[in-house]
Symmetry: C2
Subunit: 190 residues, 2 copies
């Protein structure tokens, strides 16, 4: 499955400079649900022994992945909301995320109703680069007094260091495709 | 399936005033993927003869529904992006949406690469009230020269009239739960 994903990234990904690979044609904007379900089955395999009770992701591009993963694990998922969404419960966990890609800080929120101290949470996202979003999601799990079972990522840009920082802190980080480098229009995987 | 959904809305939905039913605990923020897959199977049934080539939705709460629907139909899905997302292709279809709930106008965008004149598009969303979001999505399909096969909606607030406006224009609108009224904390379905 992982080889299939890497091939797809090479074939359909769009490289911009030395640090961006766009996967807008099959993951991030247009989405191939068959590929996503394959990704979910692989993630399920890697966390099969971890007694996950909930999947947590962040809008928008994490949602479809989290949906298939949660379905396969037989648990609900929650997506953290960006921006100041109205109609959200007043009682929320909140964290700040700095996006290196967009060079902005935004806040993410999860209503306190949906994660509690009995939860063992699998954090899911499409990309892991410096780790800003994952850091915010882990912060929210901690605020809830829940346990972080680990993080499942579709594409890790290993050269940006976020993944290894979390591993050094003892988190189980499972990234399906780990990008070692993007140079002269060529992408290399670990 | 539809009766199951209606029961779930009555049990777990949260009524606010006479026009809002919040489904944050199972559709909109925390999500029950088993229910969503059941919803997708029902939508598939209703559009089985329509030769859909693509599913189109809008971030964020439409994404999980669209993912399961697209998987069941065996086609890709595209989610329109709100706000001024960076990294989006410069060549986009764009439409304006007025949200009555939030009393704001926002723009939605789809890269021109992902819908074309050969597509027969199923528009999917969680709610249909006045029809602002659906109107924007239909506009984008029209800009692409593609065909609107119809719209699949989880919850239609029929008393706000959007659904019947589209039906009067000849669109096939399939809403699984149609809310006739919300009064004194009680929700009634058509």
């Amino acid at each position: 499955m992982v080889e299939l994903l890497k091939k797809r990234i090479i074939t359909d990904g769009q490289i911009i400079g030395n640090d961006i690979v766009k996967v807008d044609s099959f993951i991030n904007h247009q989405v191939d649900p068959v590929l996503l379900r394959e990704i979910a089955l692989e993630i399920k395999k890697r966390f099969a022994q971890d007694k996950i009770t909930k999947v947590l992701t962040i809008e928008a591009s994490g949602i479809a992945i989290a949906a298939f993963v949660a379905y396969e694990l037989g648990v609900p998922f929650v997506f953290a909301k960006k921006y100041n969404a109205k109609n959200l419960d007043k009682s929320v966990y909140e964290s700040e995320v700095f996006s290196f890609t967009k060079q902005t800080t935004y806040s993410i929120r999860v209503a306190t109703n949906y994660i509690n101290e009995n939860d063992n949470v699998l954090v899911v996202d499409d990309f892991l680069a410096k780790g800003g979003a994952i850091n915010g999601l882990i912060d929210i799990v901690n605020q809830a007094g829940a346990k972080v079972a680990g993080c499942a990522i579709v594409i890790e840009k290993s050269f940006q260091g976020g993944g290894d920082e979390f591993r050094a802190k003892g988190y189980k980080i499972e990234s399906l495709a780990r990008v070692k480098s993007i140079e002269n229009g060529t992408i290399e995987f670990l």
